[in-house]
Symmetry: C2
Subunit: 149 residues, 2 copies
C-alpha cells in the first residue's frame, strides 16, 4: 500500500512524464522549468495584485489566472532531472541531495494552488486572499531552501 501511495504521488507530480527521458539536453530541461515558473509566477502575481487591492477585483480574471497557475504548477518538477544542477540555473544541490524534502515542498505548492484555484471558482475575494497567502508561503519555502540568491 505504501508503494502504491508513493506511485500515486509520483503519478500526480509527473503526470505528463512517460518512462523515457523528456529532455534531450540538460539545458532544455532548465529552459523548460524556468519557462513554466515564469508563466506561473506572472499569473500568480495577477491574482496577488487583486488580493492586495492593487488592481480592482475581477472574479473572471482571478478564475482564469488560478486555472493557469494550477495547470502549470505540476510541470516544472518533471524537469529537475539529474545533471541539470549546472548552467543557467539557480537550483541548489539540495534539490537532488534532499530529494524527499524537495518533493514534499513541490507537492505542498501544487496542493496550495489547487486550493487557490478552488477559491477562485467561488468568486469570494476573502477566500482568494487566504488561499493566495497560503500558496505564497509554499513558494517562498521552496525558494528559501532550494533556490540560490
Amino acid at each position: 500500500m505504501k508503494r502504491l501511495a508513493l506511485a500515486l504521488t509520483c503519478a500526480t507530480l509527473f503526470a505528463a512524464l512517460p518512462a523515457h527521458a523528456q529532455f534531450q539536453k540538460p539545458e532544455d530541461a532548465i529552459k523548460y522549468r524556468k519557462g513554466a515558473f515564469t508563466v506561473m509566477a506572472a499569473h500568480f502575481g495577477r491574482i496577488g495584485a487583486m488580493a492586495q487591492g492593487k488592481v480592482p477585483f475581477d472574479a473572471a480574471a482571478a478564475q482564469s489566472n488560478a486555472e493557469i497557475v494550477a495547470t502549470l504548477s505540476r510541470l516544472p518538477f518533471t524537469a529537475f532531472v539529474e545533471g541539470t544542477d549546472k548552467g543557467e540555473t539557480r537550483a541548489k544541490p539540495e534539490i537532488w541531495t534532499d530529494a524527499a524534502k524537495f518533493k514534499e515542498g513541490s507537492q505542498a505548492m501544487i496542493d496550495a494552488v489547487g486550493k487557490l484555484n478552488a477559491a477562485a471558482k467561488t468568486g469570494n475575494l476573502d477566500q482568494i486572499k487566504a488561499a493566495f497567502g497560503d500558496a505564497g508561503k509554499t513558494c517562498k519555502a521552496c525558494h528559501d531552501n532550494f533556490r540560490k540568491e
Copy 2:
C-alpha cells in the same frame, strides 16, 4: 455585428488580460512569452514524437500533453505588447506593422491546437497524427513570417 465578432475574437485571444497592463517592464513580457512558447513546444514535441513513431503511443500522455498545449496556446500573444520588439527577442517588426495578419496566424494556431486537443481525447492515433500535422503548419507559418532566424 462585425464589431461584436472582433470583440469576441479578442476576448478569446486575450482571455486572461484585464484592461491594465500585465507586465511592468518590456523584458518581463518577452520573458513571459518565451517561457510560454518553450513549455508549449516541449509538450507539442512529445505528441510529435508519438505521431512520428519515435516513441510508443501512449493515449493518456498524448491527452495530457495536448491539454497543456491548448491551455498555453492562448498565453504568449498577450505579451506582444508595444515596445517589446527589442532586447532578447526574435520578434520581427511585422508583428506590430502587420498586426492583423499576426493575429490571424495566432488564432489559426490556437484553433489548430484546439483540434489537436479534441483529437487526443479520442485516443485515435491517426486523428492525432493528422491534427498534429495541421497544427505544426500553423506554428511554421508564424515562425516564417514573424520570427527572425
